[in-house]
């Protein structure tokens, strides 16, 4: 069968879904991209600049937007994929509006949810005025102003790594991979924006795994005087001046440390998206103990669902950065095409 006659549904219009849709369309397949938000783009829509080079996020957004501007792609927004059913004639995909579509294959790219930082009660997110998430800091960067809740300029900001990651207490033993480098990137941006503001990163391990990440870490120390304290912040409170007070073990000094902060930024980790979990439950897709979708083999089958015609792309399978997400989406397309050609 010619590719133009084949229809592929892509569930989720973030980075992975957009790249997969674009690649498939380019190859001649008919694609329907289903996005739950108002427009495709996912978490990237809120982001100001990207690690490791601090390029504007808009550059990647515009690349992806162009990627899905294709006559073979139809986009359905404000809609989620609820269930994937198998018929003798092929796959049927149920959508949240009550409608359904026939498909020859489905790529699941439901992505991740940002960890709800209020679940780490000890940090007082949603209670203390100047406790924000890394995503909210990015919005501040977009607005061009980093300020306390009362509008004043901060003189000391702390970035707390591993919030919702590597933490049994919130049922997340996994590492979200991107938070360390995001923190370093954000620390540099704060220092550039507010040169008199001290910046501290509180980390358990610095996991600078990608190309030029370690170099960014070095740059943050060498040129931006970003401070690093190894230890997990155990609690935050406020003093009489409404300034945050944190407690942390300075594990390198082997002593407890107390510090006042104007703003505390929680590097919220990645969790399997709730919408993806719902879809997985309804469609019999397996999930790992980390709740992300389980692939048939984590070395050589990491786009394969084990269900005929259903493939996975991006952070619905594990936390990953944009570079890896794009590669993973292209690999999902390769697996999809291999399947379609082999039918």
């Amino acid at each position: 069968m010619k590719s133009t006659q084949l229809h592929i549904m892509v569930a989720g219009g973030g980075v992975a879904g957009m790249e997969a849709a674009g690649t498939l369309a380019e190859m001649g397949y008919r694609v329907t991209l289903v996005e739950k938000g108002d427009e495709p783009g996912g978490h990237l829509l809120q982001w100001h600049a990207l690690f490791p080079d601090r390029r504007p996020a808009e550059e990647v957004r515009s690349y992806l937007r162009k990627r899905i501007e294709h006559r073979n792609i139809s986009i359905i927004t404000k809609t989620t994929v609820e269930k994937i059913r198998h018929h003798i004639s092929g796959l049927e995909v149920n959508l949240s509006g009550g409608t359904s579509e026939k498909a020859d294959a489905v790529i699941v790219s439901t992505g991740f949810d940002l960890f709800d930082a209020s679940r780490k009660e000890e940090y007082g997110y949603g209670i203390y005025d100047n406790v924000i998430t890394s995503a909210e800091l990015e919005v501040m960067f977009n607005r061009g102003r980093v300020a306390k809740a009362d509008g004043t300029v901060p003189s000391r900001i702390g970035l707390i790594h591993c919030v919702g990651s590597r933490d049994e207490k919130v049922n997340n033993n996994h590492c979200s991979k991107v938070c360390c480098v995001t923190a370093v990137k954000q620390a540099i941006e704060i220092r550039k924006m507010l040169p008199s503001c001290e910046v501290f990163c509180f980390y358990m391990d610095m996991r600078m795994y990608g190309p030029y990440y370690e170099e960014l870490y070095r740059e943050s120390q060498e040129f931006y005087n970003v401070n690093f304290i190894r230890g997990k912040v155990s609690e935050a409170s406020v003093n009489i001046n409404n300034r945050l007070v944190i407690k942390v073990e300075d594990t390198l000094a082997g002593r407890p440390l107390k510090m006042e902060l104007d703003i505390m930024v929680l590097m919220a980790g990645m969790e399997m998206a709730a919408s993806g979990m719902k879809l997985a439950e309804a469609s019999g897709m397996k999930r790992g103990i980390n709740r992300f979708l389980e692939t048939t083999d984590h070395h050589y089958g990491n786009n394969l669902s084990g269900i005929k015609g259903v493939f996975y792309a991006g952070t619905c399978t594990a936390p990953m950065n944009i570079t890896d997400t794009i590669s993973h989406a292209r690999a999902a397309v390769a697996e999809t095409v291999r399947y379609l050609n082999g039918r």
Binding site: E121, G124, I127, D129, S237, N239, N242, V245
Partner: protein
């Protein structure tokens, strides 16, 4: 501070507190150092709220001090607690009301242990039967007595003769709440409001008109410990923990501290004297010390009970300035006068005499 954030957490940590019919177990420390507190609790429950609260004189210490002091083994304390349950079973009670936070923590820990390791429950049943011939049912509910006062806080507020308000300014009193560690730090679900933002005392104080202070060392342990204060040479640890809290709350100039753990209340009161002797520092408004009250004492004051019947005169930090602020008339000359006219023993070195 965004109060809705706290309310969201409070809503997550609610527990079942029964309305009536309690088997009450006393606290070693509370009945010794704050004897008026437990009497006040019983009086409020029975006379003011019309509840059925049963006590069995055969109830003993839970041996928690020995357990945490590494003297009493876990098997032993399980058997002692099982005996308490047996007394409740024999009297036909299913709701336990516990005066002590240490005991509360121990009951909770034991019930959790039995849940996860059923063989320990069977072993305890056997041990208790062999030792005493008794059998027991696992209680349906476990409440700390502060949970129960929390449940009835609005009823108490409706009957209040005094509010937690400074009558000369009309402003709410500034209250520091201190939660005993074993109330919810081991098992957050067992405490109202959880471990990070417990609501049990906050709810009382706010219902009775006071303002709560959220100060940096709010969650810090009072330092009581067990093996710490039991050994004289180790008490420096206990007192330094309390001092850390006093210094942290000092900028707020609190009117009083309310605690739900007898140990915390005792040490936060007594250490103020020791710190005065060692460092020459007295905390609180005008250097008058910060009165430390149990929640029963505070409920009693609000209900219009006589402060000297509550036993406030036996606290190291005396409460006269607080009573004046609340508009409570109490004659300091009657502090150590028994009902029959005889003189009660007078403690020395009181703060704010």
């Amino acid at each position: 501070m965004k109060p809705e954030g706290k309310k969201r957490i409070w809503a997550e940590y609610q527990k079942e507190i029964p309305d009536d019919h309690f088997f009450y177990v006393r606290s070693c420390i509370r009945q010794t150092f704050f004897a008026g507190s437990e009497q006040c609790f019983l009086k409020i429950m029975r006379d003011d709220l019309g509840k059925d609260v049963f006590e069995d004189p055969r109830h003993t210490t839970c041996t928690g001090i020995g357990y945490h002091g590494d003297i009493v083994p876990f098997e032993t304390i399980q058997t002692v607690v099982a005996r308490h349950f047996a007394l409740a079973t024999e009297a036909g009670y299913k709701n336990i009301a516990i005066s002590c936070v240490t005991s509360f923590g121990i009951y909770t820990e034991i019930l959790e242990t039995w849940k996860h390791f059923p063989e320990t429950l069977e072993r305890t049943r056997e041990d208790l039967y062999r030792a005493t011939g008794r059998t027991f049912e696992i209680p349906e509910t476990i409440s700390h007595a502060s949970d129960i006062i929390y449940k009835f806080r609005d009823q108490i507020a409706r009957k209040a003769k005094y509010n937690l308000v400074d009558i000369s300014t009309g402003k709410p009193l500034k209250v520091v709440e201190h939660i005993g560690c074993h109330y919810s730090k081991m098992f957050p679900k067992s405490g109202i409001g959880g471990a990070e933002f417990p609501h049990v005392l906050v709810g009382m104080v706010e219902a009775w008109g006071g303002d709560i202070i959220d100060y940096p060392e709010r969650r810090h342990c009072c330092g009581f410990g067990f093996r710490q204060y039991l050994v004289q040479a180790n008490r420096g640890y206990s007192i330094s923990a309390s001092r850390k809290k006093f210094e942290s709350m000092e900028p707020y100039q609190p009117d009083l501290i309310i605690g739900n753990c007898p140990g915390c209340a005792m040490f936060m009161d007594r250490w103020q004297y020791t710190i005065k002797e060692m460092d020459g520092i007295t905390y609180g408004k005008n250097g008058q010390g910060i009165p430390v009250l149990t929640y029963e004492e505070l409920a009693g004051l609000v209900m219009g009970y006589n402060p000297w019947e509550l036993g406030l005169q036996y606290h190291n930090v005396q409460s006269m300035p607080l009573l004046r602020r609340m508009g409570i008339k109490a004659d300091p000359a009657e502090r150590f006068l028994a009902k029959d006219g005889t003189r009660l023993p007078e403690p020395a070195n009181l703060i704010n005499e």
